[in-house]
Amino acid sequence: MISKQEIIEQLKTIVKPYVQNQESFDALTEETDFINDLKINSANLVDVILDIEEKYTIIIDNESMEKMINVKAAMEIVAIKLAEK
């Protein structure tokens, strides 16, 4: 079982190439919003989701994708999908 902190670190590595707000990235917490805080555009957010799928070998459906607005929601969905495996 991977820890919360490990997932946050892994997510940070995934989002890094798409981040437009470095300050917000440096201060990333569970509450950090991908679009409003990190300024990741909606097209690149698709790539973030696909990179998350690849990293954890999970499939994220449309409904889950729409919920993945911040780090916390992403962590929850990753945890759910990993548990379903």
Binding site: N41, S42, A43, V46, I49, L50, N62, M65
Partner: protein
Amino acid sequence: MGNRSTMKKEEIISKLPYCKPFLFVDEIIHIDSNGVVGSFTFDENLDFYKGHFRERPVTPGVILTEVMAQIGLVCLGIFLLDDSFNKNTAIGLTSTDIEFLKPVFPKEKVTVVSEKIYFRFGKLKCKVLLKNQNNEVVCSGTIAGMLV
């Protein structure tokens, strides 16, 4: 090739949200859910040749990019969306990463070969090549667009 697939190709072109002087698709040669091949011939009277370059017409890179996007991304997107694509569907180009290797002059016919990388969450990303009549690669790269 049966009548049905020919119809399909023409139907895709008729659904394109462009018209002259900004329609850059003449023919779809092949299309399936993994990719598309299509062609376009540059009319020597196209307006941009008057200024790019002065007295030495060469097709601008942005126009080659547009040809790649219209054939490689939009035609394929319409095919993939099938009946859910209509005149109210709004699309946008989201990224391009293209290398330009050779010039394209007026009257040249070019062929675009596009291969789908993914189509997920309304975003289509493709690996796209543009070739000239000598089958030489003129430009290549990746292009993405999405429903907006």
